[in-house]
């Protein structure tokens, strides 16, 4: 167990599980956590976009994080959860297996991503944490949505 430093550089992270692995995102990015509801599929969209759901009157895209990170697609049940996150100006739902923990860590505890060849790891993993012998990957959400088409209009 690492010693907790009383400094301004502590961060709170929300940890979640996908396919037996652990990941986390900054707690400030998470707006809401809700149970799975069937999504309306969007035509011509990548496989990791499950579709859209109604979030209090707004249309919210739901991303299957397992597919996005290159694991086998999630078969959602009522036990799965959607983490509602804010990425820049957009609100995005992330379909994950479960939310597991809230972590308070210092910047120093976040280790750089190990040098692996995986393109997906380079795109999404911003660092790793060693907590009680487990490895938790910190995810950057900027590239979760498919690249924006530049529509000249």
């Amino acid at each position: 167990m690492t010693e907790k430093l009383e400094s301004s550089s502590t961060r709170e992270l929300i940890a979640f599980r996908i396919d037996g692995r652990e990941f986390c995102v900054d707690i400030m990015q998470v707006r809401d956590i809700r149970g799975w509801t069937p999504a309306t599929p969007l035509p011509h969209s990548p496989a990791y976009v499950r579709g859209v759901i109604n979030l209090r009157g707004a249309v919210l895209p739901v991303i299957d994080m397992a597919t996005r990170l290159g694991f086998k697609p999630t078969e959602p049940t009522v036990r799965h959860v959607i983490m509602v996150t804010q990425v820049e100006n957009q609100i995005i739902g992330l379909l994950v297996d479960a939310v597991s923990d809230i972590l308070t860590v210092t910047e120093a505890e976040i280790q750089p991503t190990p040098d692996v060849a995986s393109e997906l790891a380079k795109t999404f993993v911003r660092g790793v944490l060693a907590i009680d012998g487990r490895m938790i990957s910190m995810i950057a959400l900027d590239h979760v949505l498919p690249a924006h088409e530049s529509l000249a209009a």
Binding site: P38, A39, T40, P41, L42, P43, H44, S45, P46, A47, V49, G51, V52, I53, N54, G57, A58, V59, L60, P61, Q90, I91, I92, L145, P146, A147, H148, E149, L151, A152, A153
Partner: protein
């Protein structure tokens, strides 16, 4: 936001209104109006902008507005005639003023050279400047320079006493408007006292008896004898911002000191005797009179209010509301409608009799929510007038640049459309008008040779037609040169050289991406965007654009747009277990097909015979990638839709669920544009349903434009004709 910034913002909002007023006034004058009210309104608009700009220390704006105002004053006073060329200069000056307002708003410094050039243009047009006035900059900084010689001569008069004190008699008589605009005479009197020694006398001569007194009326006047070394115009400047609301006279008192004690005493006695004369009436009858008066005034006010509601005086009947608040309200009403629909669905599922009090109450609620929704939408509806007026500037600039003579005629400016639609119309309209001038209207000599009037004519019209707004841009130019369009399209590899094309097909080629007939990249319309972008932005608004052209006679572009981007009447259909909304405006009819009417055209292509015409059949579920196999038409329903132009397509859907108004929710807000889908909505069961973009789906199915997606979907299918 701090108070100053808020006030400044209000000032800029008002500037916008004044600029519109200014331009419409000038255009009315150009159109031959000779009403003094029009030129007065024009003058007042510039004057108000100058006044506000002065208060915020916006120097460039003040400097230009001052010269502009001076020139307008000459026209107003009839010293120079409002000729065509003068009005043209005035209109260009209005554009410059608008640019300066914009620079000030964005807090950037405008180009001084540009201002000076326009100032000089105004001065030479109006015969200002020259010998009797100092150079521009100095005149603007010290507009009263021309009074200096008088002061010098006064020095001589006073026998070289060294101080140029002069006495003025100022009479200041506010009108009712002065007080209603929250002006305070005391402030102005103090302002005068700052210039020198004052002797102030209040003139009560017009003060009526208490019984006849209107509490909001203006009865007092002040006579001020001011001894000062300031110039006469410095005194007038004090009253600059109230000059329309009061009578001001400033006259110089020659010779002896003006402090005439006799006159003061006389005035004083006059005043007091008047006051006493008003007093003797007993109080009781006065009170009764007041009560009666108040009553009749209230009735009058009510009558006035009713009149202003009829549109005679709109200024008093409007309020300024933050757009965010209206949008919040629209969102909430959208939620209400969805909630109400959910409730109705639950009640229906619970098999409660339609005649029960509960079901009837729900019906009332439905009607009520729909009415609320309509009223809320109406708040955001705006006339197209401001955007049409902006186009007159586009026409002027484009005509100047191409050396063509063009007149713009606007019709139906009062047509109201949702503000969000209006905002997104500016760019397409600007582009189409530039195109019409650049490519449509011929050069003056070519027009004369063709037996047309020298001045080209562009008509911009708006009207409501069956729940949509139709905007038409037509010109009397040369029309589309079909030979040139076709050869250009062939040269660019956009069409097959042997393709058999109708005139209409050729005309529509100009909407293809990458198409441009201009042999040189013209300065204006060729800015890297073509008609394809215009078409795309109109489609993004849920609108359509069609073109008709007659060689030698001109072209017309007709846009049909939804009145609002907030709600839509749609048909709810199910396709491969998904629910979709088809916009009702596109639907011609629905029918149950019989297998004998369906013919295969090779490959996957099928057509259906509808009353002796063959219409291509499109399987929506297949095009959108919901199913791999083509559906069997015998279990399906056909929704016949109308496309741009005359084209029709038959959409194959599994079943029709019903028809209703849906609230449009953006997909782009949290995701991105999805090909074939216009937007989303939330249905009664709380689930999201997608609204079909009929034109895009048909284009995809036709294989004409299948834009490669950067992130291709595994379900996406290549559809080949």
């Amino acid at each position: 936001m701090d108070t100053m910034a808020a006030i400044k913002q209000t000032f800029f909002q008002e500037c916008e209104e004044q600029l519109i007023e200014l331009e419409s006034g000038l255009l009315a004058l150009d159109g031959g109006t000779s009403e003094p009210d029009t030129i007065n309104a024009v003058f007042r608009a510039v004057h108000s902008i100058k006044g506000g700009a002065g208060a915020f220390g916006l120097e460039q704006l003040v400097r230009f507005a001052h010269t502009y105002e001076t020139s307008l004053d000459l026209v107003r006073s009839g010293k120079i005639a409002a000729s065509r060329s003068i009005l043209k200069t005035m209109l260009t000056a209005a554009d410059t003023l608008a640019d300066l307002v914009r620079s000030a708003r964005e807090d950037v410094k405008a180009d001084d050279g540009e201002i000076t050039r326009m100032v000089q243009q105004l001065e030479s047009a109006c015969g200002l400047g020259g010998a009797h006035e100092a150079p521009v900059a100095a005149a603007a900084a010290e507009p009263d320079l021309d009074f200096t010689p008088i002061q010098v001569s006064l020095d001589d008069l006073f026998g070289g006493a060294g101080d140029a004190k002069q006495s003025y008699r100022v009479r200041f008589e506010p009108k009712t408007g002065f007080y209603s605009r929250a002006n305070e005479p005391l402030v102005l009197l103090r302002e005068m006292a700052r210039l020198g020694e004052t002797q102030v006398t209040c003139d009560l001569a017009k003060l009526p008896t208490l019984a006849e007194l209107d509490p909001e009326g203006a009865y007092l006047a002040w006579d001020v004898v001011l001894e000062t070394d300031a110039s006469e115009s410095a005194i007038r400047d004090i009253f600059e911002f109230v000059e329309f609301d009061c009578d001001i006279s400033v006259e110089k008192i020659e010779g002896e000191s003006a402090f005439d004690d006799d006159a003061f005493a006389r005035l004083l006695s006059l005043a007091s005797s008047d006051t006493q004369a008003a007093l003797p009436e007993p109080v009781e009858p006065v009170m009764q009179k007041i009560a009666a008066e108040v009553q009749s005034r209230n009735e009058e006010a009510a009558a006035r209010k009713a009149e202003s509601a009829k549109g005679f005086n709109t200024a008093g009947a409007t309020i300024r509301v933050d757009l965010d608040r209206v949008e919040r309200l629209i969102d909430l009403v959208g939620e209400l409608v969805i909630n109400q629909a959910m409730l109705s669905q639950r009640v229906a599922e619970a098999r409660i009799a339609r005649s029960s009090a509960l079901a009837m109450g729900l019906d009332d609620l439905e009607q009520l929510s729909r009415e609320i929704q309509d009223s809320v939408m109406a708040i955001r509806a705006q006339p197209v007038k401001p955007i049409f007026q902006r186009m007159s500037r586009v026409v002027r600039e484009a005509a100047d640049m191409t050396g063509k003579s063009v007149m713009l005629q606007c019709d139906g400016e009062a047509t109201e459309v949702d503000k969000t639609v209006i905002e997104r119309l500016t760019d397409p309209l600007t582009h189409m008008i530039r195109n019409a001038i650049d490519h449509g209207i011929e050069k003056p000599e070519a027009r004369l040779a063709a037996g047309k009037p020298e001045t080209g004519h562009i008509r911009l019209a708006a009207m409501h037609r069956s729940g949509r707004v139709v905007i038409e841009i037509s010109d009397d130019g040369g029309g589309i040169n079909r030979e040139r369009v076709k050869s250009a399209a062939i040269a660019k590899g956009l069409i097959d050289p042997d393709a058999q094309m109708s005139d209409e097909d050729i005309d529509n080629l100009i909407f293809l991406p990458g198409f441009s007939t201009a042999s040189t990249v013209a300065d204006m319309s060729g800015r890297g965007v073509g008609m394809d972008v215009v078409k795309r932005s109109i489609q993004a608004l849920g609108g359509r654009i069609t073109i008709s052209s007659t060689p030698g006679k001109g072209s017309a572009f007709v846009m049909s747009l939804p009145l609002t981007l907030a709600v839509l009447d749609g048909m709810i259909v199910s396709v491969a277990e998904e629910t979709l909304i088809v916009p009702l405006t596109a639907i011609v009819e629905t029918l149950k097909p019989s297998m004998s009417d369906i013919f295969h055209m090779g490959g996957d292509s099928r057509v259906i015979r509808i009353r002796d015409s063959f219409v291509p059949l499109i399987d929506i579920g297949h095009v959108l990638g919901y199913r791999q196999e083509m559906a069997d038409p015998s279990n399906c329903v056909i929704v016949l839709i109308d496309l741009e132009g005359q084209a029709r397509r038959a959409l194959l859907v599994d079943a029709i669920q019903g028809q209703r108004q849906v609230v449009i929710k953006s997909l782009e807000a949290n995701y991105r544009r999805v090909d074939g889908i216009a937007a989303a909505t939330i249905l009664g069961d709380g689930r999201v349903a997608l609204i079909l973009d009929v034109d895009a789906v048909v284009e995809n199915a036709d294989g004409k434009s299948n834009p490669p997606s950067p992130d291709p979907a595994p379900l996406q299918l290549e559809i080949v004709e």
